[in-house]
C-alpha cells in the first residue's frame, strides 16, 4: 500500500458542496497527477468541518493548515506552493476578526478552541464513504465490546450512568427509554432513528449523517441489542439527498463487513437497518407522528400513553432516538460512562451540537460541553455580531423555543436552565439576532411556520396557531389594538395547554417569550404604530433630515421607484405616497441623513 505523506481533506458536506467542493476534489486529483504527486498525497472527501461560514474548507495534514473559501481556481496554487514547495498560501488562510491576524492552524482559531467534539468526532476527519476509515478511528469497537463482553442490563446501566439525554430536544434520559422498551414483553421490537430534522436553521443531524453515517448505524445496532430489537429503521427527510446517499453506502458496507446481518461478531444477535423517507412535515419529528408516517399513514400524532415503548411501530414495542443521541453512544461505551458523566453540568451530561446561524460572524456547527454560556458560543466561538452591530437576542429551540436576551447571556446552557428562562434546548438551533431585528416580526415568522406545519388533528393547534398568526399580522400592519395584546397572551396560554402534541404545546413559545422580554416593542407597534427597526414595512416611514442632507443624490439614485426628489447640493425629499419602504436609501446614505424608520 502506498504510504501517503500528506493528506488534503476537503469538506464534502452539503454547504461546501454547494460551493463546488466536489469540483475542488477533482481538480486536486488532476493537478496532483499532473505533477506526479498523486502517489504521495491523498485527497480525502470528509464530512462537515462545522465552519460553514468560511466554506469550502480545505485542511492539509500533517501541517494542520486550514484554508478557507477555496475555489476550484485556487487548487493549482495550493498544489504548486504548499504541496510542492511547502509554502503556505496566505491569502487563503483564515483571518481572525479579533486581531486581523492570519491563522494557519485550526486549533488556534477561536472557533475551534472552546469546542469539544464527541458526536462530531469523525466529521471533517474521515471519509464517510470508507468504512475502513471509520474502523481506523475505533469504529465498530463499541458494538464488538457490547456483543462480546456486556449483558443487555450492563449496557443499559452504562447508558443510564452516563447521564445521556435525548438530543432531539425533549431531553429524556436515553438509558431509561431503553430500559422501558426492554422491559416490555414482545417477540418483535424496533429501534427507530429520528432523522426528521425540521427546525429552521438546524442542521446537526444532517451533518452527522453526511460526515459519519457509520456512528449512527453502530449505535442503532447497540440500541437494538439493548432493547431486544432485530430491526432498525431510519426515518429521514427526503430533502437530505446527500445524507441518504451516504447512509445507503454505509449500510451496504456494514452488511458486507458483517456489522449488520446475522450473528454479528459471532454472537446470536442479528440486526438490520432500513431507511424510510419522510416528506418533510415538521410534525413528523414528534415520535408518534413519525411512527404513523413510517407505517405509511398520515403524519399525525396521537395521545400518549401508550408510549411507543409499549405500543409503537405496528403496535410493537419501539424506541425512537435522535441522530445526535446515537452518535454519542459509541464513545460512551469505549471511554466509559463515568468519562461522559464528568463532562457537562449536574443534570445535563456530555456535549451539545449547536447550529449557529443568523447575525453572527462565524456561522456553522459547533459542539460544546453542556454548561457553556451563550456569551462563549456567540462571542468567542461565533466571533461576535456581524458588522459590529449590537446583540439583541438569540432564539433557541427553533419554532418551539423562545428568545434569550442580553441579561441571560451568561446562563450556563443545559436542558433545565433553558427551560427556566422560558426557552428550551430543542434540537440545538441558535439564531442570533441583532438590533435590526423586530421581535414582533420574528414571532410572526415562527408562527407562520407552525400554523403552516400544524397537522390539523387537534383544534387548539389547528385554529389557535392560525389566529395567533393573524393577530401578529394585524399588529405588524399597524392595525393592532391594545385588546389584541391581552387576547394574544390568553390565546397563547390556551394553545399551549390544550394542544395534543409537542408542536402545538410549544408553538406559542416565541410569542410568549418575545412578549415577556420585548413588551415595549409590542406596545410601540400597537399604540404608536411604530417599529423601531424598520422591519415592519407597513409601519415604516423613511424621511430625510434636512440638516444632515448635503444633496449628494446617492439616495435618489438608489431608490428603485424614483420617489426621492431633489437637485444636486439641495436637500432631498421622499414622496411618502410612492415609497415602498425598501430601505435602499437608508443603506445608500453616507451622512446618516435618512431617518429610519
Amino acid at each position: 500500500m502506498t504510504k501517503y505523506r500528506m493528506h488534503i481533506l476537503v469538506c464534502g458536506g452539503t454547504g461546501c458542496r454547494a460551493s463546488e467542493s466536489d469540483v475542488i476534489i477533482e481538480r486536486f486529483r488532476e493537478v496532483l497527477a499532473e505533477n506526479k504527486y498523486d502517489q504521495e498525497v491523498q485527497v480525502v472527501q470528509t464530512g462537515c468541518f462545522g465552519f460553514c461560514e468560511q466554506g469550502p474548507i480545505v485542511k492539509i495534514h500533517p501541517d494542520n493548515v486550514f484554508y478557507v473559501r477555496v475555489t476550484p481556481g485556487d487548487v493549482r496554487e495550493i498544489v504548486e506552493e504548499h504541496v510542492i514547495k511547502g509554502r503556505r498560501v496566505s491569502r487563503l488562510l483564515f483571518t481572525d476578526p479579533a486581531d486581523n491576524e492570519k491563522v494557519e492552524e485550526s486549533r488556534k482559531m477561536g472557533f475551534y478552541k472552546k469546542q469539544l467534539r464527541i458526536a462530531l468526532r469523525n466529521c471533517g476527519l474521515i471519509d464517510p464513504e470508507q468504512i475502513e476509515e471509520y474502523i481506523a478511528n475505533e469504529g465498530y469497537m463499541a458494538l464488538g465490546k457490547v456483543l462480546t463482553e456486556m449483558t443487555r442490563d450492563e449496557l443499559i446501566s452504562a447508558i443510564k450512568i452516563s447521564g445521556l439525554r435525548g438530543r432531539g430536544g425533549g431531553g429524556f434520559p436515553t438509558g431509561l427509554k431503553w430500559e422501558f422498551t426492554k422491559a416490555v414483553k414482545g417477540d418483535e421490537k424496533y429501534i427507530l432513528c429520528n432523522a426528521d430534522e425540521g427546525d429552521p436553521g438546524a442542521f446537526m443531524d444532517r451533518s452527522i449523517l453526511e460526515g459519519d453515517p457509520h456512528s449512527v448505524l453502530e449505535a442503532m445496532a447497540i440500541g437494538g441489542y439493548a432493547i431486544g430489537a432485530g430491526k432498525g429503521i431510519i426515518y429521514i427527510r427526503a430533502e437530505y439527498p446527500l445524507a441518504i446517499e451516504r447512509l445507503n453506502i454505509a449500510i451496504g458496507q456494514a452488511r458486507e463487513f458483517g456489522f449488520l446481518g446475522e450473528n454479528i461478531f459471532g454472537s446470536d444477535f442479528s440486526f438490520d437497518i432500513e431507511i424510510k423517507y419522510g416528506a418533510g412535515a415538521f410534525v413528523c419529528g414528534e415520535e408518534t407522528a413519525l411512527i404513523h408516517s413510517v407505517e405509511g399513514g398520515r403524519g399525525e400524532p396521537r395521545n400518549k400513553p401508550p408510549f411507543p415503548s409499549q405500543s409503537g411501530y405496528w403496535g410493537k414495542p419501539s424506541c425512537v432516538n435522535n441522530v445526535e443521541t446515537f452518535a454519542n453512544i459509541p464513545p460512551i461505551i469505549l471511554k466509559g460512562p463515568d468519562w461522559f458523566a464528568s463532562i457537562g453540568t449536574d443534570k445535563s451530561k456530555g456535549t451539545k451540537v449547536f447550529a449557529l446561524a443568523g447575525k453572527v460572524n462565524n456561522v456553522g456547527l459547533v459542539e460544546v460541553p453542556m454548561g457553556t454560556t451563550f456569551r462563549e458560543i456567540i462571542f468567542d466561538i461565533g466571533g461576535g455580531i456581524k458588522d459590529g452591530k449590537a446583540f439583541k437576542a438569540v432564539q433557541t429551540g427553533g419554532p418551539s423555543g423562545g428568545v434569550i436576551t442580553a441579561e441571560n447571556l451568561d446562563t450556563a446552557i443545559d436542558y433545565d436552565s433553558l427551560q427556566e428562562i422560558g426557552s428550551m434546548m430543542g434540537s440545538g438551533g441558535l439564531i442570533v439576532m441583532d438590533e435590526d431585528n423586530c421581535m414582533v416580526n420574528i414571532a410572526k415568522f415562527y408562527l407562520n411556520f407552525t400554523q403552516d406545519e400544524s397537522c390539523g388533528r387537534c383544534t387548539p393547534c389547528r385554529v389557535g396557531t392560525k389566529r395567533i398568526y393573524e393577530i401578529l399580522e394585524r399588529i405588524t400592519e399597524g392595525k393592532g389594538e391594545m385588546e389584541d395584546l391581552t387576547n394574544l397572551k390568553e390565546l397563547c396560554e390556551m394553545v399551549k395547554d390544550c394542544s395534543l402534541c409537542g408542536l402545538g404545546q410549544t408553538a406559542p413559545n416565541p410569542v410568549l417569550s418575545t412578549m415577556k422580554y420585548f413588551y415595549d416593542e409590542y406596545e410601540a407597534h400597537v399604540k404608536d404604530k411604530y417599529c423601531k427597526t424598520g422591519s415592519c414595512k407597513d409601519l415604516a416611514r423613511y424621511s430625510i433630515d434636512p440638516v444632515k442632507c448635503i444633496g449628494c443624490t446617492a439616495c435618489a439614485r438608489a431608490c428603485p421607484v424614483d420617489c426621492i426628489s431633489g437637485k444636486v447640493k439641495e436637500v432631498h425629499v421622499i414622496d411618502q405616497e410612492k415609497c415602498i419602504k425598501c430601505g435602499a436609501c437608508y443603506e445608500a446614505c453616507k451622512f446618516d441623513a435618512v431617518i429610519k424608520p
Partner: protein
Amino acid sequence: MKVKSMEELKRIRESHGKSLGMRKGEGENRIIVKVGMGTCGIAAGARETLRAIIEEVDAQGMKNVDVIQVGCNGYCHSEPIVEVVMPDEDSILYGHVDEEKGRMIVKKHLMENQLLQDSIVNETFERA
C-alpha cells in the same frame, strides 16, 4: 468479508490506523521534522530525503512525529535542509541531508535524542 471477532476488527483498525494518525496529529509532545522544499531544496534531492524520513519514521513505528515540508530556509548552500523540533527544545538544523542521513536523524536524534554533530548547520537557529 465478515468480521466475526474483536481480533479481526482490531487487525483492520491497525492496518488503516496509521494514515488517520497523521490527521489526528494534534496534541502534546509531538516531534516536528521540517524539510526545506524550496526550489533549491528540491533540486538538491529534498523530495527523496522527505520520503526516506517518512519511511523510516513509519518503519520505527513512531507515532508522535509530524514530517512537514516547509519553504526555503535560506541556507541554500547546504540543501537539503532538515529542521528537527523536539518538544520544549530549541530546534536543530541539519544540512546536506540525503536519504541515508535522513534515516540516521530518525534513528539517532528522534529516537535516542543524540544529535548528529557533524551535520548541524547552526545550533542556535531560533524556532520559527
